[in-house]
Amino acid sequence: MIRLKYRDMKATEFSRSDVDKEKFYSLLGRELEKLKGLNLHRKIDFGLEKDGKLSGLPFTLKDSICSEGDPTYAGSKILEGYRPPFDATVVEKIKKAGGNIVAKTHQDEFAFGTGCTNCAFTTPKNPWDEERCCGGSSGGAAGMAAALDLPHINLGESTGGSISVPASFCGVVGLTPTYGVVSRYGLISFANSLDKIGPIARNVEDAALGLEVISGKDEMDQTTVESEGDYREALEEDISGMTIGLPRDYFEIADDEVSETVEKAVSELEQLGADVKKVKLEMTEAALPTYYIIAPAEASTNLAKFCGMRYGMEGELEGNFREYFSKIRGQGFGEEVKRRVMIGTYTRMAGYRDKYYIKALKVRRKIINDFKHVFKDVDILAAPTSPVIAPKIKELEEMPPVEQYKIDKLTAPINLAGMPQLSVPCGLNKKMPVGLHLMGNHFDEKKILKVGHAYEKQRGKINYPEVEDDG
């Protein structure tokens, strides 16, 4: 069986000479077809790649990342049919390194969601339990990492937890880099001061390889910095002597069983020689409302460009521009998008700007300082990624917005601070995966990666659910 050969093969091993690329790609085509019932991805045309450093390693892209000629809808009806005439910088880098883009993965519309239940086209199903969600907003990407047992890397994007949360819900590794490490040129923006593109994979090594490929300074994104190059170089380093902080309130906020699972993982890190100490973060409670002011405020300006002109949904050019734009936007945007555009517009309006928007930006400064302060005492932080395991899709759809937003409660703070995070699967609760969240100071990717890698080796192999072929 050719498929068995690739079982558990890491993306980092793909350039091995005994991989028959032609056979591999026809197998990949069949496997992707088999996953159709999970609603994780949209098919795109891809050819055979076998050259370059990556020798044709498959990549999937979140639907909001532009790739030339491929459908790129950001989960929204208003962009249906859009095929960008250019590649995002990350895509350019993948192609240059010899990677192959093989699918677009589904996401919440414009990444507005915690469960991937706000996608205009479909709702991705969790490979561990199809009644449950994949987590949002990079749900399709995380589901793909769990369901596709062939070497590959998925690119997701996080604004407030959209890489870590789905990675945690699907039992895979999600790496959110420091703000500025990866260029966002060609990403359909949600909130410019928060958006970060990052890899989702089955193991830490592959995630590190993904970051290696896509990171680096880019003239097209002024926030970018030079890449640190080989993010895998420190993986095998000893973690003994490192200090890992446990934010007490994070464990209290999470469901008991989730916290217990993560505590067990932390004790394994202790066995590996890490020092563990409890720490107190002061701003946790404030982070979620702060995030839900800043992100929609920025989103409501970003989404102004979607108005039925130049690309995406359009209609007969009737009425004046205001009437036409309003009509198309009313038809093209989904419920959650309308809600966030309204909220974001309101909090920036004359008379409310100081009370909401500027206030939130000041609280954000305090949140950043809160983390900076804690990182004087500890190397990294460890906590549950999300307070809960993946909710059932039906439950989530019936939940009021503010309740849904709480799924981001433990990821919003670190995302507001633009600091790197790694979610690593650390066990099951009610047969669903739980994520260990490793968080580091700005540009400390290598620290969280090496702790994640050490933990992963200690933990051992994960038995991913077998995806049934439903025809």
Partner: protein, 92 residues
């Protein structure tokens, strides 16, 4: 929040809403704004707003002429075009 306020915000946001949507949004926004008010309790006196999570400096360079998208490619995603230009709705 009342209906008029919802309509005002929707008009600024160029968003056509049905009556049901207006009703629902009125309630949702009330709840969400109420939740935001929790931040009032946090002392932010003499705290500078953080527009970015890390310090970002503007980098300047000389303008250079570079290749850009072909007109045909740029217009490739729309039916509303004329004589090589995008076509939009009337201003008035």
């Amino acid at each position: 929040m009342n209906k008029e306020e919802v309509e005002k915000v929707a008009s600024i946001a160029s968003l056509e809403l049905s009556d049901t949507e207006k009703e629902d949004l009125k309630d949702d926004m009330e709840n969400i704004l109420d939740w935001f008010s929790r931040l009032d309790e946090i002392n932010t006196e003499s705290v500078e707003p953080a527009f970015q999570p890390i310090d970002v400096k503007n980098e300047m360079r000389e303008d250079e002429v570079e290749e850009t998208l072909e007109r045909k490619e740029a217009l490739g995603n729309t039916d509303n075009k004329e004589d090589g230009f995008f076509k939009g709705p009337k201003i008035r």
